[in-house]
C-alpha cells in the first residue's frame, strides 16, 4: 500500500487544523493563551453540537435544512411562554415536545411521503419560521425573562475553569458516538444511509429509522438553541434566515461525512469543528472582514473535497463489483 492510500479527508483536515493552529501560534501573539484556546472552543461548541445533529442525519443519507430555524423558533417560543407566566420546566417540556414533533414530521415527509429530504426540510424551515413569527411570538428577538434565568447556567458558567458549553459539546459527541457504535438503531441508521434497498430487504425498519434521525437532530438542535440563548441572553430568530445552517453543513462535510450517506462518524464532526474553530478564531484575531472570511471558508471546503477525490478516487473500477 502506498502512503497516500490511508490518507482520508478526516486526517487531512485534522492535519490542516493542527498546522493552522501552529502557524497562528507562531504568528499571532494572543493565539496560544489558555484564555484564547478556551474562547475558541467555546465559540465553536454550539456549531459542533449542531454538527452532531446534522451529522447523524447526513450519515443516514438525509439532510436537515430546518435545523437552525427549528432551534431558533422553539427556543424563542419557550422564552415567550416563560415571559407569559408559564413555569420554566413546563415551558421547556412544551418547546422540546414541539421541536421533536416537527422533527418527526420532517421524518414522516421523507420516509413515508417520500419527498426528497432537501425539499422537505427546506420547506419545513420556512414554514416553521413563518409559523413561529406569526402565531407564537411577535418580536424577532426573544430576551431571557426573569423566570428563565436558570438556563443561563448552560451558557455562562464554568466547570474547573472550562466553560460549560465545551463540556456539553463533548458530552453530545460522546453520546452520539456511542449511539452510532453500540445502539441498534444507530447501526440501522448507518445501514440505511449506506444502502437503503439493502437495509429494507435485510429487514431493518427503514422508515422508523429515518423518522428517528430527524427527531434526534431536532432534539439535539433544541439543546444547541438553549446554549445559544443562554450565552447571549436572548434568541434572535433571524438566525433562521441566515446562512448559519450552511456553516453546519460545512463542518459536517469538511470533516469527511459524505453527503452520499453511510460514511463517517462523530469524529469527523469534531475534526471539522476544530478546523473551522481555529480558522475563525485566527481570522478574527487578524481582524479579517466577515465577507472575506466567507470566501476563505468556501475555498477551504472546495479544497478539502478536491483533495479527498484525488486521494480516494472512486473510479469505475472500484464501483463495479470488484470486477477487475
Amino acid at each position: 500500500m502506498p502512503l497516500g492510500a490511508n490518507l482520508t479527508q478526516e486526517k487531512i483536515v485534522f492535519a490542516l487544523a493542527v498546522l493552522l493552529a501552529l502557524g497562528f501560534a507562531l504568528a499571532l501573539p494572543g493565539f496560544l493563551t489558555t484564555q484564547n484556546v478556551l474562547n475558541l472552543l467555546r465559540s465553536v461548541s454550539i456549531l459542533g453540537i449542531l454538527g452532531v445533529a446534522m451529522g447523524l442525519v447526513v450519515i443516514g443519507r438525509g439532510i436537515d435544512l430546518s435545523l437552525v430555524a427549528l432551534m431558533a423558533v422553539s427556543v424563542a417560543w419557550m422564552l415567550t411562554l416563560v415571559s407569559g407566566g408559564m413555569p420554566l420546566p413546563l415551558a421547556l417540556a412544551v418547546a422540546l415536545g414541539f421541536s421533536l414533533l416537527v422533527g418527526a414530521l420532517n421524518g414522516w415527509l421523507v420516509a413515508y411521503a417520500e419527498i426528497p429530504a432537501i425539499f422537505a426540510t427546506l420547506a419545513m424551515g420556512t414554514l416553521i419560521y413563518g409559523f413561529g413569527r406569526y402565531f407564537l411570538f411577535s418580536m424577532d428577538v426573544a430576551y431571557i425573562p426573569e423566570g428563565a434565568r436558570p438556563i443561563l447556567i448552560l451558557g455562562q458558567s464554568d466547570l474547573f475553569g472550562v466553560p460549560l458549553p465545551i463540556f456539553l459539546f463533548a458530552g453530545t459527541c460522546l453520546i452520539g458516538h456511542l449511539f452510532l457504535r453500540y445502539a441498534i438503531p444507530g447501526r440501522y441508521l448507518r445501514a440505511v444511509g449506506d444502502n437503503l434497498p439493502a437495509a429494507r430487504i435485510t429487514g431493518i425498519p427503514v422508515r422508523p429509522v429515518i423518522v428517528l434521525q430527524y427527531v434526534l437532530s431536532s432534539g439535539i438542535g433544541f439543546l444547541a438553541g438553549l446554549i445559544t440563548a443562554a450565552s447571549v441572553d436572548s434568541m434572535n430568530t433571524r438566525l433562521a434566515l441566515s446562512t448559519y445552517v450552511y456553516d453546519v453543513i460545512l463542518v459536517v462535510v469538511l470533516g469527511g461525512i459524505g453527503l452520499s450517506g453511510g460514511k463517517g462518524g462523530i469524529r469527523n464532526v469534531v475534526v471539522g469543528t476544530l478546523l473551522i474553530g481555529v480558522l475563525l478564531n485566527g481570522m478574527t484575531i487578524m481582524d479579517i472582514q466577515y465577507t472575506l472570511q466567507n470566501v476563505i471558508k468556501g475555498g477551504l471546503l472546495l479544497a478539502a473535497i478536491v483533495i479527498d477525490t484525488i486521494l480516494n478516487p472512486r473510479d469505475e473500477q472500484t464501483a463495479q463489483q470488484g470486477d477487475i
Binding site: 441498534i184 447501526r187 429494507r200 435485510t202 429487514g203 463489483q321 470488484g322 477487475i324
Partner: protein, 498 residues
C-alpha cells in the same frame, strides 16, 4: 503480417496491485476474439487498455503496427475502437437517434434530420428500434442494439463487447449472434468478453483465457471444448460438477408445504399465478427475463411495494400472510436473496462482520439490547468459515471482495436470520466459476437441513443441477411443473418460450 491491434507486454496496477500482468494480446482484422476468465482475471482491464479507458502501467499498444497512445475513450473512438459496456453508457432521457448521433462532431442536429437518418441507419442494421423512442423506455436487448448502432455509426473497426448477452433473452441472444456475423462480414473485428462458454465456443474464431491477470492460452476456437476452457480458467476441472445437465443423485422428497401462493396478481408482471414450495427440497423457477418470476418472489417476501398488488393469497405454513415491507417477512422466516447484490444486497462502507451482524440484528437473532462487538466478531468468524468467504479477515470491507465472495456475504447475512424459506434470485450471477460450485453446495445443504428453498435462475444448467422440482414461468404465470430428474434443457426451454 501485422495485427490490427497488438497490446504488447501490458501490465496495469491499481495502487500497486497488478490487475493485468505482462499480457500480450493481438486482434486480427475481421476476427471474433473471445476473452474468457473468472471474475477478477483481468478481462475488463485488458480491454479498457485497448479502448483508452485506462492507461497501462507498462507495455505498448500498436494499431496497424504503429505504436499508439490512447488516453481517452474519445481518442480510441477516433481510431475506430469502440467499447460496448455491460452497464450501458446511453443517456436514458434522450431518444435513440439522439444517442446515436450524440458524440458527432456537429454541434447541432435537426431532430427531424437525425430521426430520418436514424430510421434508415437502424433499418440497414436490421434493428427493430424506433429512433424517436426514449432510451429509458427500451429493454436491455434494444439498449444494446442502440449501443452497437452507435459504435457502427462511428465506423468502428474494433468493437469490444463486455458481457453482451448477460441481460438478453434467448431470442435477443440469437439476434445478437446474427449481428456479430454481419459485423464480421463488414470487416469489423470483435472482442467478446463473456462468462457464457457455449456462446464463446459458438461465435468466436479465437479464444484467449486469462487467469489472475496472467495470460494462460490463446488458440483457435476449434482447438477448445468446454472442459478445456474451464480447466484453463480455473486451473482445475470442475466441468462435471458444474455443468452436468443430469444428476445421478435422487431428488429430495417434498416435506411439508411451507409456501403456497394462490391466484397472485400484480400489474402486468404477475398474472393469476399459483405455486407451492415445500420444506427440505429445492424448487427451481425457470423463466426468461420479464416472465414475472422475480416479481412474484418479491411480492411473496414483501420486497415489492404493494401499490400494484391486485389480489390473490399467500399462505405461510397454512396461515395467510400479506407483507407490506420485508421486515415482517424476515421475522416470519421468508428471506429473499437479491439478484442485484450491489444495488440491494450488501452495505459497501461496512465490513464483512458488520454486514452479517446487521442481518442478525434485523432478524432478532442477537442477545441484549445493544451491539456487542464480541458477539459480532464470533458471528462473523463462524459464517466466514462456514461459507468459505475468502478475505484477509472479517474486518475487510465487502466492496473489496470478488463477486463470489460478496455473494457469500449476502447469503450469510440472510442465513443468520434463521430462515424457513429462502428465495435465491439468480444466486450465481456475476460469480466466478469456482465460487459457483461453492454457492450451489451452500444451497444444497440448506435443503438437506429441511429448509424450503426456491431458486430463480435464467441459466438452465443451474436450474437442472439444483432443482428437485422445476417450475417454468412465462408471461407472469407458472405454466409447467417438472420433476427434477424428468426434465431436460429442451423441454424446459420449450415451455418457457411457447
Amino acid at each position: 503480417m501485422t495485427s490490427l491491434i497488438e497490446l504488447r507486454n501490458a501490465t496495469k496496477e491499481y495502487r500497486g496491485v497488478p490487475a493485468v500482468k505482462n499480457v500480450t494480446f493481438t486482434l486480427e482484422k475481421g476476427e471474433v476474439h473471445a476473452l474468457l476468465g473468472e471474475n477478477g482475471a483481468g478481462k475488463s482491464t485488458l480491454t479498457k487498455m485497448i479502448s483508452g479507458v485506462v492507461d497501462p502501467t507498462a507495455g505498448e499498444l500498436f494499431i496497424d503496427g504503429e505504436p499508439a497512445v490512447l488516453t481517452t475513450p474519445a481518442e480510441a473512438l477516433k481510431r475506430g475502437i469502440a467499447m460496448v459496456y455491460q452497464e450501458t453508457s446511453l443517456v436514458p432521457s434522450l431518444t435513440v437517434a439522439q444517442n446515436i448521433y450524440l458524440s458527432d462532431n456537429r454541434r447541432f442536429h435537426r431532430l427531424r434530420g437525425i430521426y430520418i437518418a436514424g430510421q434508415q441507419f437502424l433499418q440497414s442494421l436490421n434493428f427493430p428500434v424506433d429512433p424517436t423512442a426514449m432510451v429509458s423506455a427500451l429493454g436491455a436487448g434494444q439498449k444494446q442494439m442502440v449501443e452497437i448502432a452507435r459504435a457502427v455509426h462511428h465506423d468502428a473497426k474494433v468493437i469490444i463487447f463486455d458481457e453482451p448477452t448477460a441481460t438478453l433473452t434467448p431470442e435477443e441472444k440469437h439476434q445478437f449472434f446474427a449481428l456479430v456475423e454481419r459485423l464480421k462480414a463488414r470487416g469489423v473485428s470483435i472482442i467478446f468478453i463473456s462468462h457464457a462458454l457455449e456462446e464463446a465456443l459458438a461465435i468466436s474464431d479465437r479464444i484467449t483465457v486469462l487467469r489472475d491477470g496472467e495470460h494462460v492460452i490463446t488458440d483457435a476456437t476449434a482447438n477448445f471444448d468446454r472442459e478445456s476452457i474451464v480447466r484453463a480458467m480455473v486451473g482445475r476441472t470442475l466441468t462435471d460438477e458444474l455443468y452436468g445437465a443430469h444428476r445421478d443423485r435422487q431428488t429430495r422428497p417434498a416435506g411439508r408445504k411451507v409456501l403456497s401462493v394462490q391466484n397472485l396478481s400484480m400489474g402486468n408482471m404477475v398474472r393469476n399465478t399459483s405455486f407451492s414450495v415445500f420444506a427440505g427440497q429445492i424448487t427451481g423457477v425457470f423463466g426468461l427475463i420479464g416472465s414475472g418470476r422475480t416479481e412474484a418472489a418479491k411480492v411473496v417476501s414483501g420486497v415489492m411495494k404493494r401499490d400494484l398488488f391486485h389480489g390473490g393469497q399467500v399462505m405461510l405454513d397454512g396461515a395467510p400472510v400479506r407483507y407490506r415491507v420485508p421486515r415482517p417477512a424476515v421475522r416470519d422466516g421468508i428471506l429473499y436473496v437479491t439478484e442485484d447484490r450491489k444495488a440491494e444486497g450488501f452495505f459497501e462502507t461496512m465490513s464483512i462482520a458488520e454486514n452479517i451482524h446487521l442481518g442478525a440484528l434485523a432478524g432478532g437473532q442477537t442477545k441484549g439490547s445493544s451491539v456487542s462487538m464480541a458477539e459480532m466478531r464470533n458471528l462473523a468468524e463462524h459464517w466466514v468459515k462456514a461459507l468459505n468467504v475468502r478475505a484477509i479477515n472479517a474486518d475487510a470491507r465487502v466492496i473489496e471482495l470478488s463477486g463470489g465472495n460478496q455473494q457469500k456475504v449476502v447469503i450469510a447475512k440472510s442465513l443468520v436470520q434463521k430462515p424457513k424459506l429462502v428465495i435465491f434470485d439468480e444466486p450465481t450471477r456475476g460469480v466466478d466459476v469456482g465460487a459457483i460450485a461453492e454457492i450451489h453446495q451452500i444451497i444444497n445443504s440448506l435443503a438437506d437441513q429441511g429448509i424450503a428453498v426456491m431458486v430463480i435462475s435464467s441459466y438452465l444448467p443451474e436450474i437442472l443441477h439444483l432443482s428437485d422440482r422445476i417450475l417454468v414461468c412465462r408471461q407472469g404465470r407458472i405454466v409447467e411443473e417438472f420433476e427434477g430428474h424428468r426434465a431436460d434443457e429442451e423441454t424446459i426451454m420449450y415451455a418457457a418460450v411457447h
